[in-house]
């Protein structure tokens, strides 16, 4: 909760109406983005992402598992987000549960595509090892360390960076196995396969304050919002998911306008993120 005086509220709203926000940004400008990869040694891939005062960590762990009977040729991905009490005191105990659940659901919706698996950012078929027997279970965990608005976009970016950083161990399958038996697999600890992240979308949240919408809102600005629409857009400019938060209703034409703005903004964000991720990967290799 942000405690603001009436004057401060007017200042924020007035600034947004005049395209000059309290920190000097324009409505569609992001805060400085910082990406660091390989921050967790035990994980297959990890990244730390900062959007101004918002800081999140994402880790990717791959474990061998059995594919579900309904989709024998696919691996499984589970996404969970944890809101640490270090980010805000109200997350203590079960307080962060509601936000965690909302964020995980939104990320799942944006990254995993439809039921048939079409349009998914993560290709589940690439996680299959032996059809119906062995597959990779990918556990993607997000952690909110410090919160200053726009957490969902930051988590989306962190997961993208973590997956770019992910190496899935190469698996050799022992050939002599009868069809009924569980095949023996040998997981290599030297050879890793790079995870393909070209299809991963970025998430752009447009926060509506007054009659205008802004990207990358701080928590002060979020406290003044009437509604927010999170749109995930992939490299082809296709919409991969959309959710709305906040009580106030929107006119259908406004939503369509927001979608076209988000498509425009996502291009810049995608390029910015890609160059940041590449720089972070290069910096990590230099260290090692």
């Amino acid at each position: 909760m942000v405690g603001l005086s009436v004057g401060e509220k007017h200042f924020i709203q007035g600034g947004i109406a005049q395209d000059l926000r309290t920190d000097g940004r324009k409505r569609l400008t992001y805060r400085p983005i910082f990406v660091e990869t390989g921050v967790i040694a035990q994980a297959n891939g990890s990244a730390r992402v900062k959007f101004g005062g918002t800081e999140v960590i994402a880790s990717v762990k791959a474990e061998l598992g059995r594919p579900s009977s309904s989709a024998p040729d696919k691996g499984k991905v589970s996404i969970f987000v944890d809101c640490s009490p270090t980010a805000a005191p109200q997350f203590e105990g079960r307080g962060g549960e509601e936000l965690s659940m909302e964020l995980s659901a939104a990320l799942r919706q944006c990254l995993l595509g439809g039921k048939s698996g079409a349009g998914a950012g993560i290709n589940l078929s690439s996680l299959s090892i032996v059809d119906g027997k062995v597959c990779w279970d990918l556990y993607i965990d997000g952690l909110v360390i410090s919160m200053d608005g726009n957490v969902l976009d930051a988590l989306g970016a962190a997961i993208k960076a973590a997956l770019s950083n992910t190496g899935i161990p190469k698996v050799n399958i022992a050939s002599a196995s009868t069809p009924d038996e569980q095949p023996e697999v040998d997981v290599s600890d030297e050879e890793f396969l790079q995870f393909d992240t070209t299809a991963l979308p970025v998430i752009v949240t447009l926060t509506k304050v007054g009659r205008h919408y802004i990207v990358d809102a701080t928590s002060e600005e979020e406290s003044q919002m009437s509604s927010a629409v999170s749109i995930s857009v992939n490299r082809q400019g296709l919409i991969c998911g959309l959710t709305k938060r906040g009580g106030a209703g929107l006119d259908p034409s406004v939503i369509l306008d927001m979608i076209s703005v988000a498509k425009h903004v996502s291009e810049q964000l995608m390029n910015k993120l890609d160059s940041e991720i590449a720089a972070a990967e290069a910096a990590m290799e230099e260290d090692s």
Partner: protein, 256 residues
């Protein structure tokens, strides 16, 4: 309920002729026959009744094909002591599935996620400032899950809220479409939902033409979103009319 059983069930479908489309639909190839033989843009017949539960302040029962839902409203009543003071009312939503609602026992979807979606769709329509310091409980039970559960729960809940006399800006109508290959099918059944490439759900206030919630999954191009939204909004306004007539009917029978 039994007293009103004689009334003809209200059905609706955004008939193809009424679709005032000024541009031709993008997807014309038909390579799919729907399991229940409907047209792609034809909704299931809707059966709606208010006053299903006596103990509740308001309640409604909805049946869309095989999807059967019952919603009870309790309150406004005093918020729990642990809650902080609030000058606007609180809305507490809970959706649960019966164990026999799905083909495989106890294989229902995540209740918490659906409950929070129900909350998000309704909060924009209710005048929360009319009942400060109190809570309205919305309890939904899915008796049978036959596809499109969430939209049916939302529409049924708004009808129950109206039955309970909770002040709202408008009724909330919800409709979803599934994308199967090139085709957009409205009001999908479970089988279609299991094979869908993407889905789009709109909840809106039909007379204000305001969208309270929109969720999209899967990969969509902008023209496809346009077409799906148009289709949903058209269906929502028709569903809204049926909900309205259901309320009028129950009001006139109670006067007699």
């Amino acid at each position: 309920m039994a007293a009103k059983a004689g009334a003809a069930p209200a059905t609706y479908s955004p008939s193809p002729t009424a679709n005032k489309k000024n541009r031709p639909p993008i997807f014309t190839d038909i390579d799919w026959i729907r399991p229940d033989g409907r047209d792609f843009h034809q909704c299931r017949p809707a059966f709606l009744r208010t006053g299903a539960v006596n103990a509740a302040s308001g309640s409604a029962y909805a049946e869309f094909g095989n999807t059967k839902v019952i919603v009870s409203i309790f309150g406004p009543r005093e918020s729990k002591k642990a809650m902080m003071y609030s000058d606007i009312g609180r809305l507490n939503c809970n959706v649960s599935y019966t164990t026999f609602s799905t083909p495989v026992r106890g294989q229902a979807l995540d209740n918490k996620d659906i409950s929070s979606q129900l909350h998000k769709s309704l909060e924009g329509a209710i005048m929360l400032d009319t009942f400060p310091k109190t809570t309205v409980d919305v309890f939904a039970l899915v008796l049978e899950s036959g596809g499109c559960d969430l939209p049916v729960v939302i529409s049924c809940a708004s009808l129950a809220l109206a039955d309970a006399g909770i002040m709202m800006y408008d009724l909330v109508a919800a409709v979803s479409v599934s994308c199967l290959g090139k085709n957009l099918v409205i009001d999908p059944v479970s089988e279609e939902e299991n094979y869908q490439d993407g889905s789009l759900m709109i909840t809106c206030l039909p007379s204000r033409n305001e969208v309270t919630q929109l969720t999209i999954t899967g990969e969509w191009s902008t023209p496809k979103i346009h077409e799906a939204m148009e289709l949903c909004l058209d269906a929502c306004s028709k569903l809204g009319k049926i909900m309205r007539s259901c309320l009028k009917e129950s009001a006139s029978t109670s006067q007699e």
